[in-house]
């Protein structure tokens, strides 16, 4: 068993808990904003080249290569261009963006300024989950201080480059974490996804080229600019570069936000950092990514945290949540809670998500009441598959993941609850 220090690698969180987050002086004293100065000495293409070389992938969950996204925005025609930080963090079980915003808000601004400079954006928005009052306060203070110190606003530090950032509060909708629903919401419309293509990179906010990325993604940019893409790529595995922030919660002795390099195993996280289930309990299942993520049995925890390794098993860790569930809890009841969540949070736009979630819930209730039939297993599988295959956006595509993965890994829990044949 590895020790905590062997598992953890602090890169993005290196200043967290070390500096006072509301002190721009301490941030600068700890090397903050140096990456902006360095970036201004580089050509936009060079910066994007470094990000590409770093192999940084979006930390929001989809894992799209950030450098390619930046390149697309740089090359897209249209003005002005926008930078949006997706800080909606609505996925249950995730709280790492909150941690970053409240412990090192300037690092996020630093990343956004660099990206804005690289893609040619003049305006930025940080769309923060409505429940995150402290994060908003932290960022509003950071923005004010950055402006007062010349790191935001017109002609930043005499570079000739101007960029401004605003905080925008979400209003409690989960789907607004979906990039286009977020953009719609930011435009003052109901939060519902848009057709793709066109993607936000060419027609995003107000139909202008927009780079929209997660808090953690932007927070990595300064590190890449400072240390270079190759050095960043050296961290982690061949297929996954850098570190991940893990939101560890549920039945573990030590829940919290941990930064680990790619390549550690899920067991390292659950047992090494979390120290396993409390009260001598046995771990029954672990949900990765959040409510929309897969539920796996403890036997699979030897998988490495790595995009490819996880994909090979058909699963994903999304935005880095690890939710541990011990044997005191019933799987069906957990699934019921998850599906109730999606029943509430579906935007209602497309058929499979609007209608599918509640049908899943109805069928789960039959299992809970031990009144289900073989036919229900078939119908459940069928709806889940169709939701994954045909839903308009990621919400509907991912909503049935917990059910689908439990059908795969915990089939006995279903067949054990079929109605007794008379």
């Amino acid at each position: 068993m590895k020790t905590k220090n062997e598992i953890i690698k602090t890169l993005v969180t290196k200043r967290c808990g070390v500096i006072k987050p509301d002190s721009i002086e301490e941030f600068i004293g700890a090397g903050g904003y140096q990456a902006v100065v360095k970036a201004f000495s580089m050509q936009p293409e060079q910066i994007i080249g470094e990000v590409k070389a770093s192999n940084l992938k979006g930390r929001g969950g989809a894992g799209f290569p950030t450098g390619i996204k930046m390149d697309a925005v740089l090359k897209a025609e249209g003005s002005p261009k926008y930078i949006i930080c997706n800080a909606d963090e609505g996925e249950p079980g995730n709280f790492k963006d909150k941690y970053l915003m409240e412990n090192d808000p300037h690092q996020l601004l630093e990343g956004m300024i660099i990206c804005a400079y690289a893609v040619g954006a003049s305006h930025g928005y940080i769309y923060i989950r409505g429940e995150y009052g402290d994060s908003m306060t932290a960022l509003e203070k950071a923005i004010a201080d950055a402006k007062a110190n010349g790191w935001l606003g017109a002609n930043i530090k005499g570079s000739g480059f101007s960029f401004d950032v605003m905080v925008h509060s979400g209003a409690g909708s989960y789907v607004c974490g979906e990039e286009f629903a977020l953009i719609e919401s930011l435009e003052g419309k109901p939060g519902r996804p848009r057709n793709k293509p066109p993607y936000p990179t060419t027609a995003g906010f107000r139909d202008k080229p927009t780079m929209i990325s997660n808090v953690e993604t932007f927070s990595n940019i300064g590190i890449i600019v400072n240390g270079g893409g190759e050095a960043f790529k050296a961290i982690g595995t061949e297929t996954s570069a850098g570190t991940r922030l893990i939101s560890l919660s549920g039945n573990v002795k030590n829940p919290g936000v941990y930064e680990v390099p790619f390549g550690v195993t899920l067991a390292d996280i659950v047992y090494g950092l979390g120290e396993g289930a409390p009260d001598g309990q046995k771990i029954k299942m672990v949900q990765l990514g959040g409510a929309s993520g897969p539920i796996i049995p403890p036997e699979l925890l030897d998988i490495r945290l790595d995009y490819k390794d996880l994909a090979d098993e058909g699963i994903s860790i999304g935005s880095g949540a690890v939710i541990v569930i011990d044997e005191r809890f019933g799987m069906m009841e957990i699934l019921e809670r998850i599906m109730k969540f999606f029943c509430r949070e579906s935007c209602g736009k497309c058929t499979p998500c609007r209608e599918g979630n509640r049908q899943i819930l109805n069928i789960l209730n039959k299992f809970i009441a031990c009144k289900a039939s073989e036919e229900d297993i078939k119908n459940l599988t069928s709806i889940c598959n169709v939701m994954c295959l045909t839903s308009f956006c990621g919400l509907g595509q991912a909503a049935p993941t917990a059910v689908l993965t439990t059908l795969k890994y915990f089939g006995g829990e279903y067949t054990g609850r079929l109605a007794a044949k008379s």
Partner: protein, 590 residues
């Protein structure tokens, strides 16, 4: 050109083509539900999903552009199963009592369900029955039928510029409702019925008046008189499988007689009469304006009741611009219950007037208390849409397609070509110019085929200038005057011209406005059509009816001349004002 493979067959289509349209080129019709021609891609229903090599998820054919070398399977087991499940999910939240539905056998959901081979829905119904909103005299909203496709929202917002209905709520609570959940009749709805035309199911329909009409027809004490609007004759045939734009005037008259109506009259007659009244009103206003008197110009036509609702709600300060003419069917209703009742010696209260209209707003209009000659009996007792008439003809088992042509009854059934084109945008203006120009100059309108080219066609806003030269003595004051006219269709386009008037910048003397885009040919009561070219085809039909007539100018209608001689006196005279003109109400926004 982009080459791709669909169901193992190669096809080349221009860049930007969707998979749906590319498949059509191969004769493959992928089932759709939210998709509607000439609307934006919504991709909400997820029925048109197809398998595309290289994609993890299925792709919606309506929204996915083709790409070079793309390999598409429209009928793979995966696509078929997904399509079926999505339709089943919709059905599980739909009041699927098809046999008791006005859209039975004419329903897009029913069609795709049948196509998908659904015989038994594995999903339990989750439908929570809601109240039906029948507050409007024109439109009924049945949320229990709604499948949330969004077509109605788009037509109301983007085509009509009204935004009366939108989706509200999330997830299972998502529904299409009027602003702030108001009843439709308490909203700013103008009753145009464009939502009802695009609805794939029976979630938005016209308020059905078939029952009261059958009742009247079976009442021996009633003299039941029917009249038909110009645009009905080029669209009714579609309900019986005929091509859009096919004129079916003779079959329509024959089927109305077969249904048992006592008199078959034509709203066209009073369209001609409208030209006499409105033309005279216009010339009076112009004369006043040019001779130092008080006159409100531009004058705006008043025959589209959706437009009248719109202007009363949105521009209550500008109502003086409206012609005071009642709409043609209200004029005819008034004449039937006075002039004609007297002629045939039937008491007005024993007359029952039915108007067959391409319009849902006409239902609202007929209920206006001011549209009654005696303040008790309405000018028009019931309004049927083109769709409702088709349903009645089907109910009566009439073989419409093979029916020999018959004529309207006289005297209120004769009309000129000028009346026919009331059914298309620009038609009323052209008809008015044919008459006004001749009154003023003593010469025929000097245009090829009497058509005022700049105002013919489907553009939303059109304008023309007519220079008056060598007028007759009575109109010498008009010599050299350039009369500027404009034509708008759809309330969205109307708004553009009204805002000019409100700002004092309108350059026009005379404006024609129709509430629906293209005019009555695509009114809210017309047959629903998936033909993207339906407007232009019906427009062609209207002009062909006009051109086929010997009499093409309203003032040439012999019965119009004689009704003035024997009954009304002069246009805009005392009796005309009493029977044929109305006033408007400053309603303002809800």
């Amino acid at each position: 050109m982009i080459e791709l493979t669909i169901n193992n067959r190669k096809v080349s289509v221009p860049e930007g083509t969707t998979i749906l349209d590319a498949a059509k080129k191969l004769g493959i019709t992928i089932p759709t539900l939210c998709y509607f021609p000439n609307q934006k891609t919504k991709a909400n229903c997820r029925v048109c999903v197809v398998e595309v090599d290289g994609y993890r998820t299925l792709q919606t054919a309506c929204s996915t552009p083709v790409a070079p070398g793309m390999v598409v399977k429209t009928n793979s087991p995966k696509a078929l199963e997904a399509r079926k499940v999505n339709i089943e999910l919709i059905l599980a939240n739909h009041d699927a009592r098809c046999l008791e539905c006005s859209r039975n056998l004419n329903c897009e959901l029913q069609k795709v369900a049948n196509q998908a081979g659904i015989t038994d829905n594995p999903f339990e119904s989750v439908l929570v029955m809601q109240d039906i909103d029948d507050s409007s005299p024109s439109i009924v909203r049945n949320p229990n039928k709604c499948i949330k496709c969004g077509r109605c929202i788009e037509v109301c917002r983007d085509v009509q510029g009204l935004n009366i209905i939108d989706d509200a709520g999330r997830s299972a609570d998502m529904g299409v409702v009027p602003t702030f959940g108001k009843f439709l009749n308490d909203s700013n709805c103008v009753a145009c019925g464009q939502c009802a035309v695009v609805c794939p199911v029976a979630a938005i329909t016209e308020k059905d008046e078939i029952g009261v009409v059958w009742e009247a027809l079976s009442d021996p004490s009633k003299r039941v008189v029917v009249q038909t609007a110009p645009a009905v004759r080029v669209a009714l045939g579609e309900e019986f499988g005929m091509a859009p734009g096919t004129p079916v005037t003779g079959k329509m008259a024959a089927s109305l007689r077969a249904l048992g109506f006592d008199d078959i009259f034509d709203t066209n007659f009073t369209a001609d009469l409208t030209i006499m009244e409105e033309g005279t009103e216009f010339l009076t206003r112009v004369k006043n304006a040019l001779t130092g008197g008080k006159a409100t110009l531009p004058m705006i036509t008043s025959c589209s009741p959706g437009w009248i609702n719109f202007v009363e709600i949105n521009y209550p300060e500008l109502l003086d611009h409206l012609s005071t003419c009642k709409s043609p069917h209200q004029m005819l209703g008034a004449l039937i219950k006075t002039y004609y009742a007297k002629k045939i010696n039937v008491k007005p209260e024993d007359m029952f007037v039915v108007s067959v209209m391409p319009c849902t707003a006409k239902k609202y209009e007929a209920k206006r208390p001011e549209l009654s000659v005696d303040g008790i009996h309405p000018d028009v007792d019931a309004v049927l849409t083109t769709r409702e008439l088709a349903r009645m003809i089907k109910q009566a088992g009439i073989d419409f397609v093979n029916l020999p042509d018959e004529d309207f009854d006289n005297p209120l059934g004769l009309s000129t070509g000028a009346a026919d084109i009331f059914g298309v945008t620009g038609g009323v203006m052209e008809a008015a110019l044919r008459t006004v120009y001749e009154i003023v100059t003593g010469r025929e309108l000097p245009f090829d085929g009497l058509h005022v080219k700049p105002i013919v066609g489907l553009e939303g806003i059109k304008e023309a200038t007519i220079k008056i030269e060598n007028p007759v003595a009575d109109y010498a004051f008009l010599d050299g005057v350039e009369v500027k006219v404009a034509v708008a269709s759809s309330t969205k386009n109307a708004k553009v011209l009204m805002d000019q008037i409100a700002a004092g910048t309108s350059p026009y003397h005379f404006i024609e406005i129709m509430g629906c885009l293209g005019g009555c040919i695509t009114g809210g009561g017309q047959p629903r059509s998936a033909d993207p070219d339906v407007r232009i085809k019906r427009l062609g039909g209207m002009y062909s009816v006009d051109e086929a007539k010997v009499l093409r100018k309203s003032h040439d209608n012999p019965y119009v001349k004689s009704i003035y001689e024997e009954y009304l006196g002069a246009p805009n005279g005392h009796l005309s004002h009493e029977l044929l003109h109305t006033h408007y109400n400053k309603r303002g926004k809800a």
